[in-house]
């Protein structure tokens, strides 16, 4: 209690748990406690899923690193491969830069959607989720454009016109898997936005598939997934396109 009064932010929780991190850490694991006390199952399970997804993306990136390091054939220069001609001049990597800004913006609108979800402002939260879905669809559209362009130029999972054939296989595998995640996220967002805007979390309407009542926390859990997709792109952008 003394500690609570020292930290006004933690005061109203009125938990018996110590408020300092390490004490909580020990208490969480001690004497038959639930290890993630206070973290709902939905959120904990999303984190566990994202951790497993991290390993999958991690394996893809490690495979790419191994292929690129061990080939004796020159690796294509991504800066030139992904350049676009704008007004007669080749701008390096411009499409990827735009895609990055679109995805970051979608993360921004998602963070605001989660914020308004907490405040139970279902109109703002729902609309921001729709904007997020729109940015996501935009990203996938640009990726489709990028794939089309490269396929026309002769890039295949087993070959490309500029050198090491592994470039093609790692490119399609990594960006394809990421694009699939974005697509799933857009569908997930649209389904959830409909529920939020319809007011399902206020009326306690049961879900069509699960026949359970949803809660506003679903927006935060959805947000974790969406930010993760943006997070993975940060690494792909650095290792595949800039490196």
């Amino acid at each position: 209690m003394t500690e609570s009064s020292l930290h006004p932010a933690a005061a109203p929780s009125a938990e018996a748990m110590p408020s300092s991190g390490w004490r909580r850490f020990v208490a969480d694991w001690a004497s038959d406690q639930t290890s993630f006390k206070g973290v709902s199952w939905g959120k904990a399970m999303m984190w566990v899923f994202l951790l497993s997804d991290t390993f999958v993306f991690g394996c893809f990136l490690v495979a790419y690193m191994t292929a690129r390091m061990s080939t004796t054939v020159p690796w294509p220069n991504p800066s030139e491969v992904f350049a676009l001609e704008i007004g007669g001049t080749e701008v390096p990597l411009i499409l990827i830069a735009i895609m990055t800004f679109v995805l970051i913006s979608s993360s921004g609108t998602m963070a605001l959607a989660v914020h308004y979800g907490y405040l139970r402002d279902r109109r703002k939260a729902g609309r921001l989720m729709l904007v997020t879905a729109l940015f996501g669809a935009c990203f996938v559209g640009m990726q489709a454009f990028e794939w089309t362009k490269l396929i026309r130029e002769g890039v295949r999972p087993w070959a490309n016109p500029w050198g090491a054939p592994q470039f093609g296989s790692t490119f399609f595998m990594i960006t394809g898997f990421h694009g699939t995640h974005v697509t799933m996220g857009v569908i997930f967002l649209l389904v959830l936005a409909r529920k939020v805007l319809r007011g399902d979390y206020e009326t306690g309407r049961r879900g069509f598939f699960t026949s359970r009542r949803g809660r506003y926390e679903a927006i935060e859990i959805m947000g974790l997934y969406w930010h993760f997709v943006d997070l993975v792109w940060v690494f792909i952008f650095a290792f595949f396109y800039l490196w």
């Binding site: 109203p12 929780s13 938990e15 408020s19 991190g21 909580r24 850490f25 969480d28 694991w29 038959d32 639930t34 290890s35 993630f36 006390k37 206070g38 973290v39 709902s40 199952w41 904990a44 984190w47 994202l50 951790l51 991290t54 390993f55 991690g58 490690v62 690193m65 191994t66 390091m69 061990s70 080939t71 004796t72 390096p92 990597l93 830069a97 990055t100 800004f101 970051i104 913006s105 993360s107 921004g108 998602m110 963070a111 914020h115 979800g117 907490y118 405040l119 809660r215 506003y216 935060e220 947000g223 943006d230 997070l231 940060v234 690494f235 952008f237 650095a238 396109y241 800039l242 490196w243």
Partner: protein, 123 residues
């Protein structure tokens, strides 16, 4: 006993005022992070656009990448306000992947060496 408390917590509305694990932050914070992510991405892009090379290039790329990843995980994904238990459970395992990266880097170097030795760098 532990069960009932857990259920009570889960059942509680997510936006209950004053709930310690439900951070309320001003919109300004999210907008600031959004802005920083834009700036850092622009910096990453500039590294390529300007055409930096060598150690400076790799250092800057990794630095901007880690800063961006940190901001997303800490603020957007609310990790900064999660329980320490969850933070460690999620952040430590990916760090261990670095061991795997090290093993595969050494393996890749060996493969390259054998290719150069036996194929003369032709394949």
């Amino acid at each position: 006993m532990a069960d009932t408390t857990a259920h009570a917590e889960v059942g509680a509305p997510a936006a209950a005022p004053g709930h310690a694990d439900t951070p309320h932050h001003p919109v300004k914070l999210y907008l600031a992070v959004w802005g920083w992510l834009f700036v850092l991405s622009a910096c990453s892009y500039l590294v390529d656009y300007i055409g930096l090379h060598g150690w400076l290039r790799w250092t800057l790329i990794v630095l901007f990448m880690l800063l961006k990843a940190g901001l997303i995980v800490a603020i957007f994904m609310h990790m900064a306000w999660e329980r320490l238990t969850l933070i460690y459970a999620i952040l430590l395992p990916p760090l261990l992947v670095m061991v795997f990266v090290g093993i595969m880097a050494s393996e890749a170097n060996y493969t390259l060496l054998t290719r150069v030795l036996y194929y003369g760098g032709g394949n």
